[in-house]
Amino acid sequence: MALIQISDLHKTYHMGDVEVNALCGVSFAIEAGEHMAIMGPSGSGKSTLMNLLGCLDTPTSGAYLLDGEDVSRLDGDRLAAVRNRQIGFVFQQFNLLSKESAVQNVELPLIYAGVPDRRERAMAALERVGLADRAHHRPRELSGGQQQRVAIARALVNSPSIVMADEPTGNLDTKTGLEILQVFDELNDEGITLVMVTHDPRVAERCKRVMRLVDGEVVSDVFNHQEAAVGDLI
């Protein structure tokens, strides 16, 4: 069974009187251990899809099975629990708490999970991204690349089923961006499932699967640079 199974997902926003169809019947599956990029121009619905996949939002219609559980109809608190257990986020803006140290930032998901030995686990996660020596620095004392590593450690600390990255290199220079992508590659090699939203082709290039969205529909979904029909995946 696939880690993520999505069928006929719709998302409609109401902007005043106007209805905006951000997603119009998207269906696909993601297996455990995949390394996938979602691409598309702005307004294509990729952010909406990312929010749905990350359980930050619920679809207007359609089904979303995450690890066998239907998460498309959960309320806010249940979604929060699913995010806490199953999903790690890496954002373009890093989104670290500026008043807390690196290790305290990494601990944050563990606090809400009520885990007892969180300092050890947070340190282990920082070590994994090569930042153990910066554990007690505040975000503003760290470079952009280091901050993004802290964010990655935070995404990993709860051993989630899947890590979602939204333009993770968008705020970094090319060299640092490559280093961060290297970190992601290594994590994927260790078996972590990755989904990245990007419009940078160099990011997409390194992913094993690239899906393209236009106007809320999947227009292509390619494995190892081979075109495959969307329908075949389901």
Partner: protein
């Protein structure tokens, strides 16, 4: 999220904005401090009054002219005369002494010092009935009373004002221009208003001749034979005076108060004043609460992104609600504790200037803390609720 974790996080976020936190607390600080000071003054005054009335002895009965009302003022006019005193001495039972008193205000002078005070014309039994001891010298004698001698016994406060506290027995002072020899000094009873130490006692006969003329008696003080016989003594006095004044129980033109009644009236009055003023002070505590709400609303807006991050990594509604609620309760509680300490210090300092010891009762401490905690919850709830209801996606997009 554990409570300890929440408290730690609330504390660090308050410390991150120190000056703002302190300004926000100011309302609560002032509110709690003023409530505490008012209560401390009131309680102190109450205790002082009780002690003073107790100091007069539990068998003291006070007969006042005029009747018909339960309060301090009389609705029916009446008079107390020397005949009444005589009648009481001869006929009333269960009593041990009768002390009639005339009273006026007089100006006492010694060399170039002067002091305006109450001048009491009394008889020889006065110190026994009023439970006064002599500190120096002696009290009036029967022969002095008969001879209308110009002799005076001073209260401690008068000694302080005229003699700089020295016990100058045998010196002469002038009361409204009339020279009097100081023969004794009363021992101190402790201040307050209607200060019992601020008076001069002279023979009642001298007072009539020199100061008040043939005015009515101000009061007649009576000592019941024992504390247990107070009710019988009151009953007996009533019968004697009714007969002397030719009145019945409905047209009585005098009132008799015992010390317990006096206590009840005085403590009730001070309690009412205390309640009223602390009610006003409480309003500033509520204003302080509005200040907290205002700042918490600002804080929620400022920290929208933080709320988004916390929600994204798994914070539930109640986690966010608790976080902000704990912050506002912490603000108001810390404010409450600071207010308590300031109020305590303030009331101690006031006590020194007021002349009676202020008392901070433990219930006032408990109530202040509870109330400031409640203010934090009440005024923190709306902002916390607002934070908890935010949508994580909106928050993460917020610049």
């Amino acid at each position: 999220m554990s409570l300890m974790e929440a408290i730690r996080s609330a504390y660090s976020s308050l410390m991150a904005n120190k000056s703002r936190s302190i300004l926000t607390m100011l309302g609560v600080i002032i509110g709690v401090a003023s409530v505490l000071i008012v209560v401390a003054i009131g309680e102190g005054l109450k205790t002082d009054t009780i002690n003073r009335i107790r100091g007069m002895g539990a068998n003291l009965l006070t007969i006042r002219p005029g009747g018909g009302d339960e309060g301090w003022r009389a609705s029916r006019p009446g008079r107390l005369t020397e005949e009444d005193v005589k009648a009481l001495q001869e006929q009333a039972r269960h009593i041990s002494a009768v002390a009639p008193v005339v009273q006026t205000n007089g100006n006492a002078k010694y060399r170039n010092l002067s002091h305006t005070t109450g001048v009491v014309g009394a008889t020889t039994v006065w110190p026994k009935v009023m439970a006064f001891e002599m500190a120096y010298g002696r009290f009036l004698t029967t022969s002095e009373e008969r001879a209308r001698s110009r002799v005076a016994v001073l209260g401690q406060e008068v000694v302080n004002e005229l003699f700089y506290g020295r016990p100058l027995i045998g010196e002469f002072i002038r009361i409204n221009g009339v020279p009097f020899e100081v023969i004794g000094i009363l021992s101190e009873k402790g201040g307050g208003f209607g200060d019992p130490d601020d008076q001069i006692v002279i023979p009642i006969t001298t007072a009539r001749q020199r100061l008040v003329g043939d005015a009515d008696l101000r009061n007649i003080y009576v000592s019941a034979a024992t504390e247990e016989e107070v009710p019988e003594a009151i009953e007996s006095i009533k019968q004697v005076l009714r007969r002397a004044h030719r009145v019945n129980e409905f047209t009585e033109d005098f009132r008799i108060r015992d010390q317990s009644e006096m206590l009840a009236t005085m403590t009730e009055t001070t309690s009412q004043i205390t309640m009223f003023v602390s009610g006003i002070a409480l309003v500033s505590l509520i204003v302080g609460g509005v200040g907290i709400m205002n700042i918490m609303l600002v804080s929620v807006t400022e920290r929208t992104r933080e709320i988004g991050i916390r929600k994204a990594v798994g914070a539930r509604r109640n986690d966010i609600l608790a976080q902000f609620l704990i912050e506002s309760v912490m603000l108001s509680l810390i404010g409450g504790v600071i207010g308590l300490s300031l109020g305590w210090i303030g009331s101690e300092m006031l006590g020194d200037t007021l002349g009676w010891a202020t008392i901070v009762p433990s219930w006032a401490i408990a109530v202040s803390l509870l109330f400031s905690g409640a203010v934090g919850i009440f005024f923190g709830f709306y902002p916390a609720q607002k934070a908890a209801a935010l949508d994580p996606i909106e928050c993460l997009r917020y610049e």
